[in-house]
C-alpha cells in the first residue's frame, strides 16, 4: 500500500532513531510486566488500562522492545497456523488478512502440479483435435470418391436404361416396320392367326406350311423378341425395382437368384429345345410388295391395298397386346400365387410353378412356336394368362413354357 509519507519528516525520524531518542525511560524506573505487555499485544486490555499501558510504552524503550518482539512472534505463530488475520477498521467492517490475492495464488504449494496437469490436458485436447481433423479429412475424401462412384454408377444405370429404352424404341420401330411388312402379306396370315386361335391346324401344302412355318417361325421370332424384350425390360425393370425395394415375401437375394436362373433357363431352353420349338434362323423379310408363290389358306400375301389397310390395325393390336402383356406382367408381379384351370401356381422369381410339379423332367416349349400351338388349348390358355415362364403338369407330363 503506497503511503504518501512526508519524506523530509520521514528522514528526520529515521535519523532520530540513532540519536538515543528511543531510549527514554520513565522516571520511576518501573516497567510493565510480561502479562500487561502480552495482553496489550493481543489488544485485550480494558480501555482505561490500555491508555495507561500505551502511555508507558510510548516512553519506555525496553518495554516497547519487548512489545514489538512479542508482536512479531505472535504474527509468526499465526502465520504458521495459517489462520487468517481478521482486523476491524474504524468503521467496524471486517477485512481479511492483508496478503494480496496474487501472493496467495503463488503461495499455493500445489501450483506446479496444477499447472502441469493443465498443460497435459491442453496438449491432450490439441492432439485430439488434430486427430479428429485428419479423420474428417479422410472421410470427406472417401465421401467424395464414393459420391463420384455413385454418380458414375447412376450414370451407368441411366445410360443402360436409356440404351435399353433406345433399344426398345428401335426394336419397336423395327417391329413396326416388320409388322407393317407382315401386314402387307394380307389376309391369309390373319386367317392363319384366326385359325391358330381356333386351334385349327393349318392346312395347306407343306410348302405353305413350310412357308407358313418359316413365316410362323419368323413371326414367332418377332413375337418372341417382342415378348422377350418387354419381358426382359420388365424383368430388368423388376430387377432394378427389386434392387431398390425388395419384396417382403421373398428375400432380395432369392429374387435375384430366381431371375438369374430364369435367364439361364431361358438360355438353356433355347439350346435344349426340340427342333420344333427351336427358333429357326429367321429368313430375311420379303419385299413389301412381293407376292408369295403359293397361296393357300395358310399362305400369306404381301402387299395389297387390303393388307395395307389392316396393317396399322394389326400393328396397333400387337402393340396393344405387348402393352397388355407388359401391364399384365406388372400386375402379375405383385401376385405370388394364382389358380387357373383348377391348378395352383406359385411364382418363384419369374417362373410359375404348378403345385403338382415334383421336379420331374420337363418338355421345354416356347410360346408362339408350332410346338406350342400343337399343345392342348387348355394348357395354352393357362400359360397365356401367366407371364414369364410356366412350369406345369398337363396330363401327367411336365412342360416348361417360356
Amino acid at each position: 500500500m503506497e503511503i504518501e509519507f512526508d519524506k523530509e519528516i520521514d528522514a528526520l525520524l529515521r535519523r532520530a532513531r540513532t540519536s538515543g531518542e528511543s531510549q527514554i525511560v520513565t522516571g520511576s524506573g518501573s516497567h510493565l510486566d510480561a502479562d500487561e505487555i502480552a495482553i496489550f499485544a493481543e489488544n485485550a486490555l480494558p480501555d482505561k488500562a490500555k491508555q495507561r499501558v500505551t502511555k508507558h510504552l510510548a516512553d519506555c524503550g525496553r518495554c516497547r522492545t519487548i512489545l514489538s518482539n512479542t508482536i512479531i512472534l505472535n504474527a509468526e505463530a499465526v502465520e504458521k497456523t495459517a489462520l487468517p488475520e481478521i482486523v476491524a477498521d474504524e468503521k467496524g467492517v471486517l477485512a481479511a488478512a492483508s496478503v494480496p490475492w496474487y501472493r496467495r495464488f503463488f503461495a499455493t504449494q500445489n501450483l506446479a502440479y496444477g499447472l502441469g496437469a493443465l498443460a497435459i490436458v491442453f496438449v491432450g485436447m490439441l492432439g485430439f483435435l488434430v486427430v479428429q481433423n485428419s479423420l474428417n479429412t479422410g472421410n470427406s475424401e472417401m465421401a467424395k470418391v464414393s459420391e463420384s462412384e455413385t454418380v458414375a454408377s447412376a450414370n451407368t444405370s441411366t445410360s443402360l436404361e436409356e440404351s435399353q429404352r433406345l433399344g426398345d424404341q428401335s426394336l419397336n420401330s423395327n417391329l413396326n416396320t416388320e409388322a407393317t411388312e407382315n401386314l402387307n402379306r394380307s389376309e391369309p396370315r390373319v386367317a392363319q392367326n384366326q385359325m391358330d386361335a381356333n386351334n385349327i391346324p393349318p392346312n395347306g401344302p407343306q410348302s405353305t406350311d413350310n412357308t407358313a412355318g418359316s413365316l410362323d417361325d419368323r413371326k414367332a421370332d418377332d413375337d418372341l423378341r417382342r415378348n422377350r424384350q418387354p419381358q426382359e425390360s420388365n424383368e430388368y425393370r423388376d430387377l432394378q425395382k427389386d434392387k431398390l425395394s425388395p419384396r417382403r415375401d421373398q428375400p432380395a437375394g432369392q429374387l435375384m437368384e430366381g431371375k438369374r436362373k430364369g435367364y439361364e433357363r431361358a438360355e438353356a431352353s433355347d439350346k435344349s429345345a426340340s427342333p420344333e420349338s427351336r427358333i429357326a434362323k429367321p429368313a430375311p423379310p420379303p419385299a413389301p410388295n412381293a407376292t408369295p408363290a403359293n397361296t393357300g389358306s395358310g399362305a400369306t400375301t404381301y402387299g395389297g391395298t387390303k393388307n395395307k389397310s389392316s396393317a396399322p390395325v394389326e400393328a396397333e393390336k400387337k402393340e396393344r397386346e405387348s402393352d397388355s402383356i407388359a401391364a399384365a406382367d406388372s400386375d402379375e408381379n405383385a401376385a405370388t400365387e394364382r389358380s387357373l384351370g383348377g391348378k395352383t401356381f406359385t411364382r418363384n422369381g419369374r417362373v410359375w410353378y404348378d403345385s403338382q410339379y415334383r421336379g420331374q423332367q420337363t418338355t421345354n416349349i416356347r410360346r408362339g412356336t408350332s410346338s406350342y400351338k400343337r399343345l392342348d388349348s387348355g394348357l395354352r390358355s393357362i400359360t397365356d394368362k401367366l407371364p414369364g415362364a410356366v412350369v406345369l403338369v398337363w396330363k401327367t407330363k411336365a412342360y416348361r413354357i417360356d
Binding site: R14, A16, T18, A38, N43, K55, A58, G61
Partner: protein, 321 residues
C-alpha cells in the same frame, strides 16, 4: 479479597463459578483455588484505573478470562505434575521459538528455553512450601502462549544485555563504532566533505541540533497513541499491519494515522524552529530540505562511502593518483 469491595464479592464468586463451568478441563480445581488470581487480575486491570467500576464491567472482564489456560497455570502452581507435563508439552515450542530470536544457534536457544522454564517453575519456596515462579504473574486475560512469548522476551533481553559484549561479533562492533564515530564527527553531514569551512561545519551542526531538538519536542507533544505508533514504526521497525492489529484497526487506518502524525510533526517542528530558534520561513524550508537530504544516508550507504574513501586514500598513498 481485602482490597476488593464487598459489593463485588458476589460478582466475583458468580463469575468464578461460571469460569469453571466454561473450562473443558478444570483439573480438579474449585472456586476458592481460582478466586485469588481472579481478584488480583480485577484489581490490576479494572479497579486500578477505575475504582468505581460496576458489576457489568467486572463480570465482563472475568467472563473474558481464558478458563483452560488459567486452570492449567494454577494447577501447575499447586504442584500438579500432570499439569506441568501438559504445559511443557503444549507450550515448549512457543518458548523455543521466542528463544531462537535471541540465540544465534540451536544450542543457545535450547539453553535459553531451559532457563526460562526454570524461571517459570521457580526455585524458591513460599511460606506454604509451594514453588514461586513467574507463573503467578499470569492473569488469564491474554493467551498463555502470548504470555510465554512475552516472558521469554523479557528474560532474554535481560540476559542479552548482560551478554551483549559476548554475543556481538568483532565485525559488528567495528561497524557500529564506525557508524558512531562518523556520526559524531560529521553528525548530520555527508562523509565526503573534506574541504568545508569550519565555520560552515559549525553552523551546520548547530542547525541540525536545532532541528533534532524541535523534533524531540514535537514528538513528546504528540498523543500517547500517536507517539507509540511513530516509535513502533520508526524505532522498532514494526510493520503497519502488525501495528494496526495491536491497536485493533485496519492497516489502511494505521497508514492514515501515520501520515497524519507526520503532518503534525512537520507543523510542530516548523513552529518550534520559528518560535524557539528564531528561524524564518525560508530558513525553515531550506534547512529542513537539506537536513532530510543529508540525513537520508543510511548505514549501508555510509559503509559504501567509507570503502570508497579508503580506496582513494590507498591510491593516493601508493601514488597512483
Amino acid at each position: 479479597m481485602a482490597t476488593l469491595a464487598a459489593k463485588h464479592k458476589t460478582t466475583v464468586e458468580e463469575c468464578t463459578s461460571r469460569l469453571l463451568s466454561r473450562a473443558e478441563d478444570s483439573r480438579g480445581l474449585k472456586s476458592p483455588d481460582l478466586e485469588p488470581r481472579i481478584v488480583s487480575a480485577v484489581e490490576k486491570y479494572i479497579l486500578r484505573d477505575d475504582e468505581n467500576a460496576g458489576h457489568n464491567e467486572i463480570s465482563g472482564f472475568i467472563d473474558s478470562l481464558r478458563a483452560d489456560d488459567l486452570c492449567l497455570i494454577i494447577a501447575c502452581e499447586k504442584g500438579d505434575e500432570t499439569a506441568w507435563g501438559d504445559l511443557v508439552l503444549n507450550f515448549d515450542s512457543s518458548v523455543k521459538s521466542a528463544a531462537y530470536k535471541f540465540a544465534k544457534n540451536k544450542e543457545d536457544a535450547e539453553d535459553l528455553a531451559s532457563s526460562i522454564w526454570a524461571e517459570l517453575h521457580g526455585l524458591k519456596l513460599d511460606a506454604e512450601g509451594r514453588t514461586k515462579g513467574k507463573l503467578s504473574y499470569y492473569s488469564g486475560k491474554g493467551s498463555l502462549a502470548g504470555w510465554l512469548r512475552a516472558v521469554t522476551n523479557q528474560l532474554a533481553i535481560d540476559e542479552f544485555r548482560k551478554m551483549k559484549r559476548i554475543v556481538q561479533t568483532e565485525d559488528d562492533r567495528e561497524f557500529e563504532n564506525l557508524a558512531q564515530v562518523s556520526s559524531e564527527k560529521a553528525e548530520f553531514r555527508t562523509v565526503v566533505t573534506p574541504t568545508e569551512n569550519p565555520e560552515d561545519i559549525f553552523g551546520e551542526q548547530e542547525t541540525q541540533k536545532d532541528i533534532l531538538a524541535s523534533l524531540q519536542e514535537t514528538i513528546a507533544g504528540l498523543e500517547d497513541e500517536d507517539r507509540l505508533i511513530i516509535k513502533l514504526y520508526y524505532f522498532d521497525d514494526l510493520k503497519l499491519k502488525d501495528i494496526a492489529q495491536t491497536f485493533g484497526y485496519h492497516e489502511a487506518t494505521a497508514s492514515r494515522k501515520l501520515v497524519r502524525v507526520q503532518q503534525e510533526i512537520r507543523k510542530g517542528v516548523e513552529k518550534t524552529l520559528r518560535q524557539t530558534h528564531g528561524w524564518n520561513d525560508k530558513e525553515v524550508k531550506k534547512y529542513l530540505t537539506e537536513s532530510a537530504e543529508k540525513l537520508g544516508i543510511n548505514l549501508e550507504k555510509l559503509f559504501t562511502a567509507l570503502l570508497v574513501i579508503t580506496l582513494v586514500q590507498e591510491m593516493l598513498s601508493s601514488g597512483v593518483l
